[in-house]
């Protein structure tokens, strides 16, 4: 991957972006157990495959979601959160 498509600014060099890790659903902090919270904070299924990830366009301060294959490093699509 050399270029990444920011949903606001279009195709930009990957050096302009920061990686924010996999997008995962946060459990209800008021209701979840310590074990569920630890699982959310630490544990990952890091096996290779198509993942939804947080990415950040640094110059414009834009957080967005990219669907990227972590084996091939190919990005399928990018979108703003909530617009999926």
């Amino acid at each position: 991957m050399k270029l990444l498509n920011c949903p606001i600014n279009g195709l930009r060099p990957v050096e302009e972006f920061a990686y924010g890790g996999e997008l995962r659903a946060q459990p209800d902090t008021a209701a979840c157990t310590d074990a569920e919270w630890a699982d959310y904070v630490f544990h990952r299924n890091a096996a290779p495959g198509l993942k939804q990830e947080w990415w950040y366009h640094v110059p414009s301060g834009t957080w967005f979601v990219a669907e990227r294959n972590t084996m091939t490093d190919r990005v399928e699509r990018t979108y703003l959160w909530g617009e999926a």
């Binding site: 990686y19 310590d34 904070v41 544990h43 890091a46 972590t70 091939t72």
Partner: protein, 413 residues
């Protein structure tokens, strides 16, 4: 010896026996199966046979022996860690390293060089003092030194780093060493094979047989095996094995790149690391500079190399050593580093009975090869985690009891 060498050179035959036996096919069952024929897996096989008399063991390697991170690291051995648990563990490893060539009857080119971790900021100096005090407390030889001592050990260095990042001091660790990494895998492999361990290359694990939360067998590309004990020592492939086993760990995979220059006459006697400039460099016995940098910034399950890496690393090396501007980089490569949130490994028992994990070795695994083999062998043999690896258990995350070693990582990742 020289006469023997001359005879060997002139001989049309190859009188040296192969390093290890290569059996044609898998047996239907083993007392223990080790997934991963790198240094860690082969060391575990060796100590299982030597310390515990368990010799009916298969080591399964997807590619070739030592072709993963064992042959891709920058070969640095040190024990100047930050936590008492880490210092005790890595110090035990260094003690085995010092006599390992004799023990394995193979020249590992273990070369004691001394190791400087350079500090360019006051906060880095503070971490160096902290590490020095923890190290001294545990009898490990580390001390904070000033710029003059660095200049004396390495007169070629530009202490101002081109004016960008003047060096204020360093953590000096006299036992710091380098070794020939692929020989470590061969030495352990040969010694284990001599005691009856069977090594299979080009043999990929495709599944794990688990019944009632207990491991009963391993499926491979060359057939199925029954076994009650499985050790996974597969570094960057760990998430694929834990997915087969049906549980998650905090491990994520980032590539870590390294490179070597063309050979030069010996000029760099010590190992130099700079956290701020993101470099570590030593000169190999062949004269090449072996250099590495920080992790690639995002997850990829790949060993591809990039131009960005060589450009970035070269610019920082030139800050330290401007005279290298005419020297060429001749090879670059990458390994898949299995990173953990606290920069400590994940070792010991797992939620699946009989499945043991030796993983989370990220960017710090090579130096731990002997001690991880020894402690994992003890853990497999007794089904209880060895005392030295208690702080590295998988359950530490769920217990919110991390073992913070980030401050002892070679470079700020």
């Amino acid at each position: 010896m020289p006469v023997r060498l001359i005879k060997f050179a002139l001989s049309k035959k190859h009188p040296e026996p192969p390093f290890f036996r290569q059996p044609d096919q898998l047996k239907s069952s083993y007392d223990a199966v080790i997934i991963g024929g790198g240094g860690h897996g082969l060391a575990a096989a060796y100590y299982l046979a030597k310390d515990h008399g368990i010799t009916n063991v298969a080591v399964l390697e997807r590619g070739y022996l030592g072709g993963g991170n064992t042959g891709r690291n920058t070969t640095i051995i040190r024990s100047n860690y930050l936590t008492p648990e880490g210092v005790a563990f890595y110090d035990a490893s260094v003690k085995i390293w010092e006599n390992l060539s004799q023990e394995l009857d193979l020249n590992l080119f273990y070369s004691n060089r001394g190791h400087f971790t350079l500090a360019h900021t006051e906060s880095a100096m503070r971490t160096m003092r902290w590490r020095a005090e923890v190290n001294k407390q545990h009898g490990v030889n580390s001390e904070v030194v000033g710029p003059d001592d660095i200049k004396q050990a390495c007169p070629e260095i530009d202490l101002s780093c081109a004016g960008h990042a003047p060096i204020l001091g360093a953590l000096y660790h006299a036992p710091g060493a380098v070794a020939r990494h692929d020989a470590v895998a061969w030495g352990y492999g040969r010694a284990a094979s001599n005691m009856g361990v069977e090594i299979f290359q080009n043999t990929e694990v495709t599944g794990l047989d688990i019944q009632h939360g207990r491991i009963v067998g391993v499926q491979t590309s060359r057939g199925n095996i029954k076994t009650g004990k499985v050790l996974s020592a597969v570094a960057g492939f760990t998430p694929r094995i834990t997915q087969m086993a049906g549980f998650c760990t905090p491990i994520v995979i980032h590539p870590l790149q390294a490179c070597v220059t063309e050979p030069m006459k010996p000029w760099l006697d010590t190992i130099l690391v700079s956290g701020s400039l993101h470099v570590y460099v030593s000169q190999s016995s062949r004269g090449e500079l072996v250099m590495g940098a920080s992790l690639d910034p995002y997850e990829i399950h790949s060993t591809r190399s990039t131009l960005d890496f060589v450009e970035g690393l070269s610019s920082h090396i030139l800050d330290m050593f401007p005279f290298l501007s005419g020297i060429k980089v001749v090879r670059q490569w990458a390994g898949m580093a299995d990173m953990t949130p606290d920069f400590a490994p994940v070792m010991g028992l797992t939620p699946v009975q009989g499945l043991y994990l030796d993983a989370g070795w990220g960017t710090w695994g090579f130096k731990a090869t002997p001690i991880s083999g020894k402690t994992m062998a003890a853990t497999l043999a007794s089904d209880k985690p060895h005392d030295l690896i208690h702080a590295f258990r998988l359950s530490r995350f769920a217990e919110f009891e991390l073992t913070g070693e980030k401050g002892a990582a070679a470079v700020g990742h």
